[in-house]
Protein backbone atom coordinates (compact mmCIF):
# COMPACT_ATOMS: atom_id res chain seq x y z
CA UNK A 1 0.00 0.00 0.00
CA UNK A 2 1.51 3.34 -1.08
CA UNK A 3 1.67 6.18 1.41
CA UNK A 4 -1.03 8.09 -0.50
CA UNK A 5 -3.45 5.14 -0.48
CA UNK A 6 -2.58 4.48 3.14
CA UNK A 7 -3.44 8.04 4.15
CA UNK A 8 -6.77 7.85 2.23
CA UNK A 9 -7.56 4.53 3.92
CA UNK A 10 -6.83 6.10 7.34
CA UNK A 11 -9.03 9.09 6.51
CA UNK A 12 -11.96 6.86 5.46
CA UNK A 13 -11.68 4.61 8.48
CA UNK A 14 -11.44 7.67 10.78
CA UNK A 15 -14.53 9.20 9.11
CA UNK A 16 -16.42 5.91 9.50
CA UNK A 17 -15.29 5.86 13.14
CA UNK A 18 -14.01 2.32 12.79
CA UNK A 19 -12.03 1.05 15.77
CA UNK A 20 -8.29 0.96 15.16
CA UNK A 21 -8.01 -2.74 15.85
CA UNK A 22 -10.44 -3.50 13.04
CA UNK A 23 -9.40 -0.87 10.57
CA UNK A 24 -5.67 -0.94 11.14
CA UNK A 25 -5.10 -4.33 12.71
CA UNK A 26 -3.68 -2.69 15.82
CA UNK A 27 -2.86 -4.97 18.72
CA UNK A 28 -5.51 -4.90 21.46
CA UNK A 29 -4.37 -5.36 25.05
CA UNK A 30 -6.85 -5.58 27.93
CA UNK A 31 -5.15 -5.59 31.29
CA UNK A 32 -7.05 -6.53 34.42
CA UNK A 33 -5.12 -5.57 37.53
CA UNK A 34 -1.51 -6.72 37.53
CA UNK A 35 -2.29 -10.40 37.18
CA UNK A 36 -4.13 -10.80 33.92
CA UNK A 37 -3.86 -9.52 30.34
CA UNK A 38 -5.90 -10.43 27.32
CA UNK A 39 -4.15 -9.84 24.02
CA UNK A 40 -5.83 -9.83 20.60
CA UNK A 41 -4.76 -9.10 17.01
CA UNK A 42 -1.25 -10.49 17.13
CA UNK A 43 0.61 -12.41 14.47
CA UNK A 44 2.48 -14.91 16.58
CA UNK A 45 4.77 -15.69 19.49
CA UNK A 46 8.42 -14.78 19.07
CA UNK A 47 9.60 -15.72 22.50
CA UNK A 48 8.07 -17.09 25.62
CA UNK A 49 9.70 -17.72 28.96
CA UNK A 50 8.42 -17.48 32.52
CA UNK A 51 9.51 -13.83 32.75
CA UNK A 52 9.17 -12.60 29.16
CA UNK A 53 6.60 -12.91 26.43
CA UNK A 54 7.39 -11.33 23.08
CA UNK A 55 4.64 -11.15 20.50
CA UNK A 56 4.68 -10.03 16.90
CA UNK A 57 1.88 -7.63 15.97
CA UNK A 58 1.11 -5.95 12.64
CA UNK A 59 2.91 -2.68 13.37
CA UNK A 60 5.07 -3.43 16.36
CA UNK A 61 6.27 -6.02 18.80
CA UNK A 62 4.63 -6.35 22.17
CA UNK A 63 6.71 -7.31 25.15
CA UNK A 64 5.19 -8.44 28.43
CA UNK A 65 7.65 -8.64 31.31
CA UNK A 66 6.94 -10.16 34.67
CA UNK A 67 7.30 -13.29 36.77
CA UNK A 68 5.64 -16.67 36.50
CA UNK A 69 3.96 -15.75 33.23
CA UNK A 70 1.53 -18.38 32.17
CA UNK A 71 -0.70 -18.55 29.07
CA UNK A 72 -4.09 -19.79 30.20
CA UNK A 73 -5.31 -20.18 26.60
CA UNK A 74 -3.83 -19.53 23.19
CA UNK A 75 -5.64 -19.38 19.85
CA UNK A 76 -4.98 -17.72 16.51
CA UNK A 77 -6.81 -14.51 17.52
CA UNK A 78 -6.58 -14.25 21.24
CA UNK A 79 -4.51 -15.23 24.23
CA UNK A 80 -4.77 -14.72 27.94
CA UNK A 81 -1.64 -14.20 29.98
CA UNK A 82 -1.70 -14.68 33.73
CA UNK A 83 1.03 -14.16 36.30
CA UNK A 84 2.72 -11.15 37.87
CA UNK A 85 2.91 -8.52 35.09
CA UNK A 86 5.53 -5.81 35.65
CA UNK A 87 5.86 -4.08 32.27
CA UNK A 88 4.18 -3.98 28.88
CA UNK A 89 6.43 -2.51 26.19
CA UNK A 90 5.89 -1.72 22.51
CA UNK A 91 9.12 -2.33 20.61
Amino acid sequence: MSSKTKSLYHKISAAAQLPRDLADGAVLVTVTGQEEACIENYKGILEYTECRLLLLAKHCRLEVLGAGLYISYYTEDEMKVEGHIEQINYL
Binding site: G44, Y48, E50, Y70, I71, Y74, T75
Partner: protein, 400 residues
Protein backbone atom coordinates in the same frame (compact mmCIF):
# COMPACT_ATOMS: atom_id res chain seq x y z
CA UNK B 1 -17.30 -25.33 35.70
CA UNK B 2 -19.25 -26.16 32.50
CA UNK B 3 -16.08 -25.67 30.47
CA UNK B 4 -14.17 -28.06 32.73
CA UNK B 5 -16.97 -30.63 32.53
CA UNK B 6 -16.94 -30.45 28.73
CA UNK B 7 -13.18 -30.77 28.69
CA UNK B 8 -13.45 -33.85 30.91
CA UNK B 9 -16.18 -35.39 28.75
CA UNK B 10 -14.19 -34.89 25.54
CA UNK B 11 -10.86 -35.81 27.09
CA UNK B 12 -7.57 -33.94 26.80
CA UNK B 13 -3.84 -34.56 27.00
CA UNK B 14 -1.05 -32.65 28.68
CA UNK B 15 2.03 -32.55 26.47
CA UNK B 16 5.60 -31.31 26.75
CA UNK B 17 7.12 -29.72 23.65
CA UNK B 18 10.89 -29.69 23.38
CA UNK B 19 13.24 -29.04 20.49
CA UNK B 20 14.81 -26.31 18.42
CA UNK B 21 12.06 -23.85 17.58
CA UNK B 22 9.09 -24.41 19.80
CA UNK B 23 7.86 -20.80 19.26
CA UNK B 24 7.33 -21.77 15.62
CA UNK B 25 5.45 -24.82 16.77
CA UNK B 26 3.12 -22.60 18.84
CA UNK B 27 2.48 -20.26 15.91
CA UNK B 28 1.77 -23.22 13.63
CA UNK B 29 -0.71 -24.56 16.16
CA UNK B 30 -2.46 -21.19 16.18
CA UNK B 31 -2.59 -21.01 12.39
CA UNK B 32 -3.99 -24.58 12.21
CA UNK B 33 -6.65 -23.57 14.73
CA UNK B 34 -5.37 -25.94 17.37
CA UNK B 35 -6.40 -24.53 20.70
CA UNK B 36 -3.88 -24.83 23.51
CA UNK B 37 -4.56 -24.01 27.11
CA UNK B 38 -2.60 -23.91 30.36
CA UNK B 39 0.54 -23.13 28.37
CA UNK B 40 3.52 -22.95 30.69
CA UNK B 41 7.18 -22.45 30.02
CA UNK B 42 9.36 -25.08 31.66
CA UNK B 43 13.09 -25.86 31.62
CA UNK B 44 13.50 -27.37 28.20
CA UNK B 45 10.34 -26.25 26.43
CA UNK B 46 6.66 -25.84 27.05
CA UNK B 47 3.88 -27.75 28.64
CA UNK B 48 0.36 -27.34 27.30
CA UNK B 49 -3.01 -29.06 27.26
CA UNK B 50 -5.03 -29.81 24.15
CA UNK B 51 -7.97 -31.93 23.09
CA UNK B 52 -7.59 -35.49 21.77
CA UNK B 53 -8.77 -34.43 18.32
CA UNK B 54 -6.16 -31.65 18.13
CA UNK B 55 -3.47 -33.99 19.40
CA UNK B 56 -4.05 -36.33 16.44
CA UNK B 57 -3.20 -33.45 14.07
CA UNK B 58 0.03 -32.51 15.83
CA UNK B 59 2.46 -34.94 14.19
CA UNK B 60 3.09 -33.02 10.91
CA UNK B 61 3.46 -29.75 12.81
CA UNK B 62 6.03 -31.25 15.17
CA UNK B 63 7.98 -32.66 12.25
CA UNK B 64 7.98 -29.31 10.41
CA UNK B 65 9.06 -27.31 13.43
CA UNK B 66 11.60 -29.90 14.52
CA UNK B 67 10.14 -30.34 17.99
CA UNK B 68 9.49 -33.41 20.06
CA UNK B 69 6.20 -34.05 21.76
CA UNK B 70 5.84 -36.14 24.88
CA UNK B 71 2.55 -36.98 26.54
CA UNK B 72 2.72 -36.18 30.24
CA UNK B 73 -0.82 -36.98 31.26
CA UNK B 74 -4.07 -38.24 29.77
CA UNK B 75 -7.21 -36.87 31.35
CA UNK B 76 -10.93 -37.22 30.72
CA UNK B 77 -13.78 -39.64 30.27
CA UNK B 78 -12.56 -41.38 27.05
CA UNK B 79 -9.32 -42.40 28.82
CA UNK B 80 -11.23 -43.49 31.93
CA UNK B 81 -13.57 -45.66 29.86
CA UNK B 82 -10.63 -47.14 27.93
CA UNK B 83 -8.76 -47.94 31.15
CA UNK B 84 -11.84 -49.62 32.59
CA UNK B 85 -12.95 -51.36 29.40
CA UNK B 86 -12.58 -54.80 30.98
CA UNK B 87 -14.84 -53.98 33.92
CA UNK B 88 -18.14 -55.18 32.56
CA UNK B 89 -20.09 -54.30 35.68
CA UNK B 90 -19.25 -50.61 35.43
CA UNK B 91 -21.24 -49.88 32.25
CA UNK B 92 -23.88 -52.31 33.50
CA UNK B 93 -24.14 -50.25 36.72
CA UNK B 94 -24.31 -46.99 34.77
CA UNK B 95 -27.01 -48.42 32.50
CA UNK B 96 -28.89 -49.76 35.49
CA UNK B 97 -28.66 -46.32 37.14
CA UNK B 98 -30.04 -44.63 34.02
CA UNK B 99 -32.79 -47.23 33.74
CA UNK B 100 -33.66 -46.81 37.43
CA UNK B 101 -33.80 -43.04 37.05
CA UNK B 102 -36.06 -43.33 34.00
CA UNK B 103 -38.24 -45.86 35.79
CA UNK B 104 -38.56 -43.73 38.92
CA UNK B 105 -39.31 -40.64 36.86
CA UNK B 106 -42.58 -42.34 35.82
CA UNK B 107 -43.98 -41.78 39.31
CA UNK B 108 -45.02 -38.82 41.44
CA UNK B 109 -42.70 -38.36 44.41
CA UNK B 110 -43.69 -34.90 45.55
CA UNK B 111 -47.08 -33.23 45.90
CA UNK B 112 -47.17 -29.46 46.39
CA UNK B 113 -50.23 -27.38 47.12
CA UNK B 114 -49.89 -23.65 46.60
CA UNK B 115 -52.23 -20.75 47.26
CA UNK B 116 -54.42 -22.33 49.96
CA UNK B 117 -54.91 -20.49 53.23
CA UNK B 118 -58.34 -21.32 54.62
CA UNK B 119 -58.03 -25.03 53.74
CA UNK B 120 -54.81 -26.55 55.07
CA UNK B 121 -52.51 -28.84 53.13
CA UNK B 122 -53.57 -31.79 55.30
CA UNK B 123 -57.23 -31.34 54.36
CA UNK B 124 -56.34 -31.31 50.67
CA UNK B 125 -53.99 -34.28 51.12
CA UNK B 126 -56.79 -36.25 52.81
CA UNK B 127 -59.03 -35.50 49.87
CA UNK B 128 -56.30 -36.57 47.43
CA UNK B 129 -55.85 -39.78 49.39
CA UNK B 130 -59.56 -40.50 49.08
CA UNK B 131 -59.09 -40.15 45.31
CA UNK B 132 -56.11 -42.60 45.45
CA UNK B 133 -53.68 -39.82 44.60
CA UNK B 134 -50.61 -40.08 46.80
CA UNK B 135 -46.84 -40.24 46.62
CA UNK B 136 -45.64 -43.02 44.36
CA UNK B 137 -48.62 -42.94 41.98
CA UNK B 138 -47.93 -43.62 38.31
CA UNK B 139 -47.85 -40.37 36.32
CA UNK B 140 -49.72 -41.87 33.38
CA UNK B 141 -52.64 -42.87 35.63
CA UNK B 142 -53.25 -39.25 36.63
CA UNK B 143 -55.90 -37.23 34.87
CA UNK B 144 -55.01 -33.67 35.84
CA UNK B 145 -58.17 -32.11 34.37
CA UNK B 146 -60.48 -34.52 36.19
CA UNK B 147 -58.56 -34.11 39.44
CA UNK B 148 -58.77 -30.29 39.17
CA UNK B 149 -62.53 -30.57 38.59
CA UNK B 150 -62.91 -32.91 41.58
CA UNK B 151 -60.98 -30.54 43.85
CA UNK B 152 -63.11 -27.60 42.69
CA UNK B 153 -66.25 -29.59 43.44
CA UNK B 154 -65.06 -30.75 46.84
CA UNK B 155 -63.92 -27.35 48.09
CA UNK B 156 -66.46 -24.56 47.65
CA UNK B 157 -64.07 -21.73 48.37
CA UNK B 158 -61.58 -22.79 45.66
CA UNK B 159 -62.57 -20.60 42.75
CA UNK B 160 -59.69 -21.69 40.53
CA UNK B 161 -57.69 -24.93 40.57
CA UNK B 162 -54.81 -25.95 38.33
CA UNK B 163 -53.20 -29.38 38.50
CA UNK B 164 -49.98 -29.96 36.63
CA UNK B 165 -47.12 -32.42 36.63
CA UNK B 166 -43.64 -30.91 36.81
CA UNK B 167 -40.96 -33.57 36.66
CA UNK B 168 -41.90 -35.99 39.40
CA UNK B 169 -43.90 -33.38 41.29
CA UNK B 170 -47.63 -32.86 41.26
CA UNK B 171 -48.26 -29.15 41.63
CA UNK B 172 -51.73 -28.07 42.67
CA UNK B 173 -52.30 -24.32 42.41
CA UNK B 174 -55.48 -23.03 43.94
CA UNK B 175 -57.07 -19.65 44.36
CA UNK B 176 -59.42 -19.16 47.25
CA UNK B 177 -62.43 -16.93 47.31
CA UNK B 178 -61.58 -14.20 49.77
CA UNK B 179 -64.18 -11.77 48.48
CA UNK B 180 -67.34 -12.29 50.52
CA UNK B 181 -69.52 -10.04 48.40
CA UNK B 182 -72.47 -11.61 46.68
CA UNK B 183 -72.01 -13.14 43.32
CA UNK B 184 -73.90 -11.56 40.44
CA UNK B 185 -76.64 -14.19 40.31
CA UNK B 186 -77.48 -13.92 44.00
CA UNK B 187 -77.20 -10.15 43.96
CA UNK B 188 -79.67 -9.82 41.11
CA UNK B 189 -82.33 -12.17 42.56
CA UNK B 190 -84.89 -10.62 44.98
CA UNK B 191 -84.04 -11.44 48.56
CA UNK B 192 -84.59 -10.29 52.16
CA UNK B 193 -82.24 -9.93 55.07
CA UNK B 194 -83.30 -11.61 58.29
CA UNK B 195 -81.58 -11.47 61.65
CA UNK B 196 -79.33 -14.38 62.50
CA UNK B 197 -78.75 -13.14 66.07
CA UNK B 198 -80.79 -11.76 68.95
CA UNK B 199 -80.13 -8.28 70.34
CA UNK B 200 -80.55 -4.54 69.87
CA UNK B 201 -79.92 -2.70 66.60
CA UNK B 202 -77.07 -0.23 67.10
CA UNK B 203 -76.40 0.88 63.53
CA UNK B 204 -78.04 0.48 60.17
CA UNK B 205 -77.19 1.63 56.64
CA UNK B 206 -79.58 0.38 53.97
CA UNK B 207 -78.36 0.39 50.42
CA UNK B 208 -81.27 -1.34 48.75
CA UNK B 209 -84.66 -2.60 49.97
CA UNK B 210 -86.99 -1.35 52.69
CA UNK B 211 -85.80 -1.46 56.31
CA UNK B 212 -88.29 -2.91 58.81
CA UNK B 213 -86.34 -2.06 61.96
CA UNK B 214 -84.55 1.08 63.19
CA UNK B 215 -81.66 1.82 65.55
CA UNK B 216 -82.62 0.98 69.12
CA UNK B 217 -85.13 -1.76 68.17
CA UNK B 218 -84.83 -5.18 69.74
CA UNK B 219 -84.72 -8.02 67.24
CA UNK B 220 -85.10 -11.75 67.53
CA UNK B 221 -83.45 -14.50 65.56
CA UNK B 222 -85.17 -14.97 62.19
CA UNK B 223 -86.91 -11.57 62.29
CA UNK B 224 -86.86 -9.75 58.90
CA UNK B 225 -84.60 -6.70 58.98
CA UNK B 226 -84.67 -5.46 55.39
CA UNK B 227 -87.10 -6.67 52.73
CA UNK B 228 -86.21 -6.73 49.06
CA UNK B 229 -89.26 -4.82 47.85
CA UNK B 230 -89.56 -1.08 47.35
CA UNK B 231 -93.12 0.32 47.06
CA UNK B 232 -93.82 2.56 44.04
CA UNK B 233 -96.37 5.24 44.94
CA UNK B 234 -98.74 6.88 42.50
CA UNK B 235 -99.73 10.55 42.45
CA UNK B 236 -102.29 9.93 45.20
CA UNK B 237 -99.60 8.55 47.46
CA UNK B 238 -100.96 5.00 47.27
CA UNK B 239 -98.90 1.91 46.51
CA UNK B 240 -99.19 1.27 42.81
CA UNK B 241 -96.65 -1.51 42.54
CA UNK B 242 -93.55 -2.97 44.14
CA UNK B 243 -90.07 -3.05 42.75
CA UNK B 244 -88.23 -6.18 43.82
CA UNK B 245 -84.51 -6.19 44.52
CA UNK B 246 -81.85 -7.94 46.57
CA UNK B 247 -81.88 -6.32 49.99
CA UNK B 248 -78.48 -4.94 50.93
CA UNK B 249 -77.60 -3.26 54.22
CA UNK B 250 -74.96 -2.99 56.92
CA UNK B 251 -76.72 -3.84 60.18
CA UNK B 252 -74.89 -3.78 63.50
CA UNK B 253 -76.59 -5.56 66.39
CA UNK B 254 -75.56 -5.54 70.03
CA UNK B 255 -75.66 -9.07 71.35
CA UNK B 256 -74.80 -10.76 74.61
CA UNK B 257 -72.69 -13.88 74.46
CA UNK B 258 -72.60 -16.10 77.53
CA UNK B 259 -69.17 -17.45 78.41
CA UNK B 260 -68.31 -20.28 80.74
CA UNK B 261 -65.07 -22.16 81.04
CA UNK B 262 -63.93 -24.29 83.89
CA UNK B 263 -61.01 -26.59 84.46
CA UNK B 264 -59.72 -28.76 87.25
CA UNK B 265 -57.09 -27.37 89.60
CA UNK B 266 -55.22 -30.64 89.27
CA UNK B 267 -53.25 -31.20 86.11
CA UNK B 268 -50.67 -33.53 84.71
CA UNK B 269 -47.35 -31.94 83.82
CA UNK B 270 -44.86 -33.32 81.37
CA UNK B 271 -41.33 -33.10 82.82
CA UNK B 272 -38.34 -34.04 80.71
CA UNK B 273 -35.83 -36.26 82.49
CA UNK B 274 -32.96 -35.13 80.29
CA UNK B 275 -32.43 -38.59 78.84
CA UNK B 276 -32.11 -38.36 75.10
CA UNK B 277 -31.52 -40.93 72.37
CA UNK B 278 -30.37 -39.93 68.94
CA UNK B 279 -30.58 -42.02 65.84
CA UNK B 280 -30.84 -41.97 62.10
CA UNK B 281 -33.32 -43.46 59.70
CA UNK B 282 -33.64 -44.21 56.02
CA UNK B 283 -36.80 -44.59 54.08
CA UNK B 284 -36.82 -46.41 50.75
CA UNK B 285 -40.05 -46.76 48.78
CA UNK B 286 -42.08 -45.96 51.90
CA UNK B 287 -40.30 -48.49 54.14
CA UNK B 288 -38.53 -47.09 57.18
CA UNK B 289 -35.30 -48.45 58.57
CA UNK B 290 -34.05 -46.76 61.73
CA UNK B 291 -30.82 -47.13 63.66
CA UNK B 292 -30.22 -46.42 67.37
CA UNK B 293 -33.28 -44.18 67.73
CA UNK B 294 -35.54 -46.80 69.34
CA UNK B 295 -35.87 -45.73 72.97
CA UNK B 296 -35.74 -49.04 74.85
CA UNK B 297 -36.23 -48.46 78.57
CA UNK B 298 -38.00 -45.12 78.16
CA UNK B 299 -41.45 -44.90 79.77
CA UNK B 300 -42.95 -41.91 78.00
CA UNK B 301 -41.10 -40.13 75.28
CA UNK B 302 -41.43 -37.57 72.49
CA UNK B 303 -40.07 -38.43 69.07
CA UNK B 304 -38.82 -35.65 66.79
CA UNK B 305 -37.94 -36.64 63.24
CA UNK B 306 -36.14 -34.36 60.79
CA UNK B 307 -36.51 -35.78 57.29
CA UNK B 308 -34.86 -34.91 54.00
CA UNK B 309 -35.91 -36.34 50.66
CA UNK B 310 -33.43 -36.95 47.88
CA UNK B 311 -34.11 -34.86 44.80
CA UNK B 312 -32.03 -34.50 41.68
CA UNK B 313 -33.59 -31.26 40.51
CA UNK B 314 -36.08 -28.93 42.16
CA UNK B 315 -38.98 -31.09 41.03
CA UNK B 316 -37.43 -34.52 40.61
CA UNK B 317 -37.94 -36.20 43.96
CA UNK B 318 -36.83 -39.77 44.50
CA UNK B 319 -38.41 -42.21 46.98
CA UNK B 320 -35.35 -42.14 49.20
CA UNK B 321 -35.29 -40.06 52.34
CA UNK B 322 -33.18 -39.95 55.43
CA UNK B 323 -32.99 -37.99 58.60
CA UNK B 324 -32.41 -37.93 62.32
CA UNK B 325 -34.59 -39.15 65.18
CA UNK B 326 -34.44 -37.67 68.66
CA UNK B 327 -36.33 -39.37 71.46
CA UNK B 328 -36.68 -37.38 74.71
CA UNK B 329 -37.92 -39.14 77.80
CA UNK B 330 -40.42 -37.47 80.11
CA UNK B 331 -42.38 -38.36 83.23
CA UNK B 332 -45.94 -37.35 83.99
CA UNK B 333 -46.43 -35.78 87.41
CA UNK B 334 -49.66 -34.65 88.98
CA UNK B 335 -49.64 -31.02 90.11
CA UNK B 336 -52.08 -28.48 91.46
CA UNK B 337 -52.42 -24.92 90.14
CA UNK B 338 -51.82 -22.09 92.57
CA UNK B 339 -54.49 -19.38 92.67
CA UNK B 340 -52.40 -16.99 90.52
CA UNK B 341 -51.58 -19.73 88.00
CA UNK B 342 -55.24 -20.73 87.73
CA UNK B 343 -56.32 -17.11 87.14
CA UNK B 344 -53.59 -16.65 84.55
CA UNK B 345 -54.68 -19.82 82.76
CA UNK B 346 -58.36 -18.81 82.83
CA UNK B 347 -57.39 -15.39 81.43
CA UNK B 348 -55.41 -17.09 78.69
CA UNK B 349 -58.46 -19.16 77.73
CA UNK B 350 -60.62 -16.04 77.73
CA UNK B 351 -58.14 -14.08 75.57
CA UNK B 352 -57.98 -16.94 73.12
CA UNK B 353 -61.76 -17.03 72.95
CA UNK B 354 -62.01 -13.25 72.46
CA UNK B 355 -59.33 -13.32 69.81
CA UNK B 356 -61.20 -16.10 67.99
CA UNK B 357 -64.51 -14.21 67.95
CA UNK B 358 -62.79 -10.95 66.98
CA UNK B 359 -61.37 -12.73 63.94
CA UNK B 360 -64.94 -13.11 62.72
CA UNK B 361 -65.22 -9.32 62.63
CA UNK B 362 -67.13 -8.61 65.83
CA UNK B 363 -66.40 -5.73 68.21
CA UNK B 364 -66.25 -6.32 71.95
CA UNK B 365 -68.09 -3.65 73.92
CA UNK B 366 -67.98 -5.08 77.42
CA UNK B 367 -66.36 -8.02 79.06
CA UNK B 368 -68.30 -9.07 82.17
CA UNK B 369 -66.51 -12.35 82.84
CA UNK B 370 -65.50 -13.13 86.43
CA UNK B 371 -62.94 -15.74 87.40
CA UNK B 372 -63.48 -17.76 90.58
CA UNK B 373 -61.03 -20.28 91.95
CA UNK B 374 -61.90 -23.07 94.33
CA UNK B 375 -60.01 -25.99 95.78
CA UNK B 376 -61.12 -28.36 93.03
CA UNK B 377 -61.74 -26.23 89.99
CA UNK B 378 -61.42 -22.78 88.49
CA UNK B 379 -64.38 -21.26 86.68
CA UNK B 380 -64.62 -18.24 84.41
CA UNK B 381 -68.24 -17.23 83.94
CA UNK B 382 -70.01 -14.18 82.60
CA UNK B 383 -71.27 -12.37 79.58
CA UNK B 384 -69.54 -10.62 76.72
CA UNK B 385 -71.33 -7.73 75.05
CA UNK B 386 -70.58 -7.64 71.33
CA UNK B 387 -71.47 -5.63 68.30
CA UNK B 388 -71.70 -7.87 65.30
CA UNK B 389 -72.82 -7.59 61.75
CA UNK B 390 -76.11 -9.35 61.23
CA UNK B 391 -78.26 -10.21 58.26
CA UNK B 392 -78.84 -13.59 56.71
CA UNK B 393 -79.99 -13.61 53.12
CA UNK B 394 -83.26 -15.35 52.39
CA UNK B 395 -84.40 -15.65 48.79
CA UNK B 396 -87.99 -14.59 48.18
CA UNK B 397 -90.44 -15.44 45.44
CA UNK B 398 -92.14 -12.53 43.62
CA UNK B 399 -95.38 -11.34 45.15
CA UNK B 400 -94.54 -12.85 48.52
Amino acid sequence: MVKQMLQYARGHVRIRVTGRSYERFLNMCASHRIILWDLKACDAGYEASLSIKSFKNLKPLARKSGTKIRILEKRGLPFFLYANRKRKLLPAGVLFGIFLMLFLSCFIWDIRIQGNEARTDDVVFDFLKSRQVSHGILKSSLDCKALAADIRKAFDNFIWVSVKIQGTSLVIDVKENTDLTLDEKTAAAPSDLVSDVEGTVRGMITRSGTPLVKVGDKVKKGQPLVVGQVPILDDAGEVADYQYCAADADIEIETRLPYQESFSMKYIKKEYTGRLKKGVFFSILGRHISFLGTPGGFGHYDVVRAEKQLHLTENFYLPLSWGSIRSREYVLTEKVYTKEEAIRKAQEFLHKFLWKIQEKGVQILQNNVKIETGSKSCTAKGEIVLIERAGKRVMRSLGE
